[in-house]
Symmetry: C2
Subunit: 416 residues, 2 copies
């Protein structure tokens, strides 16, 4: 079998399994999640052994230490994964929720949430994503085809084997969760083109993956995670608040998509804000890449290029631009942003309203850090990713994002 | 300028216009719709003259009479278009609708509906689609780039000229509605690839267009209108009701997407239903393409091929298959259907429930004709098309389908 044929077979099996899974009760789906948790706990030794093979191979291939840490699982991390499974089990099931109405024609119409069908997920090294993704898909009645990174292949194979055992034990089709064995680029592209079998593809990864999806995918896609986020410090901003939010939004966890990449500062407060920010930023070894005005105010800033403003660093680097007005700040954001999350610090209610209305992003904040863009923080309980597209769902995606709708219509011989 | 550059310029202008249009009040948007209606009425002579040029050219090119009729506008049709504009003006504006909640973090979160941005629509000959599409997009605060068929180019140019005058007169940017001047295939493909400028593409046309979109589009797409719809006559069906629904669903308007293409009949009632159906169908010159059992029961049926069951005829042709059980009927539908609309005629409540739950289509009917799948019939007031995809929106698309959501979050120096 070629890689394409292998992927097609997995997707065909998942499609068939999805039809039965869609009819499973909430109780049945929850029991599978709890059974998976139990089995993962029982299999800690097996999982850690598989993971050690991955770690050794990655280390030998020169994978950086920070990546190795993300790849690693141990007893505590398995416990955390299991806790997250029972969290998902306790969430409300969106499937079957809906509303009904009667039309003058006499038809009774119901619109109900139903599973999407087969969800494909392409992701990188973290093994917890394997369990999380499977859990969220199973909870919403979707079959899932997982295509993880090569660094985690032994860990993922062990995890999915355990999940399949749990499905079987609970009387569900083990094909509900499939793992693509090949981690070649070819298997990833094959998955992107399984029209009629894959109902939605969710890529969870960096720019290279998103680019490949845009170029190759013929199945419907939800793009996630590109976060070129901005903070604008308005002329009326409380300087202490601005400083606190800037440091939190940039430095608390720069590797994540809701961290800011550019700070825009109103010209009238730049001389006050920027030196204070630069001083505080030194504690984090933050590199500042600034416009000409910034470089005058911050002695160790390096000059920013046009490209800097379009870059998601995911690192201890920030671009800074001094702007003459809130209009300039909004224009800058609508030009360079990936439309993920942006914030303004201001005491002026009119400017706050303008920023909320005119900034064209999924999440827009007043006097708060962009770091709050997260399914848990928004109250959705769990999250399959953060959508940066406008179709289907925008921002943090909870369980409902993994469902679609269906109309059920009852008549009595009604014709039109 | 190349065609690609021309399309890019139109889309760039539309994008810029969309940012301002998104902030327009409902009153302002309604006033533009009513102003367009007024100007269309005033310009009847001009419109009819432009349309006559299109009709003459199409006639000379051998376009069939039925197509010519769809292309034609006259005084009454302009009045109908104007009535539809005031209907859209009277609909509720979804923009700004939403909900709010407060989180333990102290953040106030609102989720509100906002315009998508720039909508591109590729469609065929009917000039009323030009006005309808512009009206629905303007009402929802979206700029629109229209790419109509070559047969209607003079009519569409005249219509869009009038719309631009109305926009200008009402103080909105005329670039909110753009018409692609070129009707080459190249302009269509260019529009499909305007990433970052076109926020959603809605193709309204036949298989060839959908295929081209799947192959070429890099912008987000909502697929519409492919309707290989089914009627299943259950063994418990009321025969009179089944006959009435079958004739209505197939023969009342076979060219539309909610008409049925295949009838599945339970073996135990085939001998009763099929001859009666065939007799009634003769009045419509309906051709029956049947399975072997059908051909035994209906003398003038021709033998159906595998391909027949996958075909959307949009014509006075129907495929018929005798099935041994409701399970076989459901499997047939989930295999061949485009997941648009399907119906069962039955007196058995358990079979009705099974059919509703297990048929994997946007609209599933019990004892009613599939012809009801329509925004107006569902109570949505207007419709931009019928989505046959699972992402974003499924089934008839009302105004809300042309919006996305945005989170507005207010804190008080909140950090995470």
């Amino acid at each position: 079998m070629t890689i394409n044929e292998e992927v097609r077979l997995l997707c065909t099996n998942a499609k068939e399994a999805s039809l039965k899974l869609a009819l499973a009760t909430t109780e049945k789906k929850n029991s599978v999640l709890l059974c998976i948790a139990e089995k993962l706990k029982e299999s800690k030794d097996e999982l850690i052994a598989a993971n050690e093979r991955d770690i050794a191979a990655a280390d030998a291939n020169g994978v950086p230490k920070t990546m190795l840490d993300r790849l690693k699982i141990n007893s505590e991390r398995i416990d955390a994964i299991c806790a997250s499974l029972s969290d998902v089990a306790s969430l409300e099931d969106p499937v079957g929720k809906g509303e009904s109405w009667t039309r003058p024609s006499g038809l009774d119409i119901s619109r109900v949430r139903v599973p999407i069908g087969v969800v494909a997920i392409i992701y990188e090294a973290r093994p917890n994503v394997t369990v999380d993704s499977a859990a969220l898909c199973l909870k919403t009645g979707n079959a899932v085809v997982l295509r993880g990174g090569k660094e985690a292949i032994h860990t993922n194979t062990a995890i999915v084997g355990i999940i399949k055992n749990a499905l079987d034990e609970c009387g569900l089709d083990p094909h509900c969760v499939e793992l693509v064995a090949s981690t070649d680029r070819e298997s990833s592209v094959a998955l992107m083109t399984m029209r009629g079998l894959v109902d939605v593809l969710i890529p969870r990864g960096g720019k290279g993956l998103i680019k490949s999806v845009v170029e190759n995918a013929t199945v419907p896609v939800i793009e996630t995670g590109a976060g070129n986020c901005h903070l604008y410090v308005d002329e009326s901003a409380d300087m202490d608040m601005a400083l606190k939010i800037a440091i939190n939004a940039k430095c608390s966890r720069p590797s994540v998509c809701n961290a800011i990449e550019t700070i825009l500062v109103h010209a009238s407060v730049a001389a006050k804000f920027l030196p204070a920010f630069a001083l505080e930023a030194k504690k984090y070894d933050l590199q500042i890449r600034g416009c000409a005005k910034t470089c005058v105010l911050v002695s160790d800033a390096v000059e920013a290029t046009e490209e800097d403003f379009a870059t998601e660093y995911n690192d201890f680097i920030v671009a800074v631009r001094v702007v003459d007005s809130i209009s300039d700040a909004i224009s800058h954001i609508n030009k360079y942003s990936t439309a993920h999350s942006e914030a303004i610090v201001t005491k002026d209610p009119a400017n706050a309203e303008r920023f909320l209305n005119e900034v064209n992003s999924a999440a827009v904040y007043v006097n708060a850090s962009t770091r709050f863009t997260d399914g848990g923080e928004f109250g959705f309980g769990a999250e399959i990713g953060i959508s940066t597209q406008k179709l289907h769902v925008r921002g943090p995606m909870g369980l409902a994002a993994l469902t679609t709708e269906k109309y059920l219509i009852k008549g009595n011989g009604s014709i039109r």
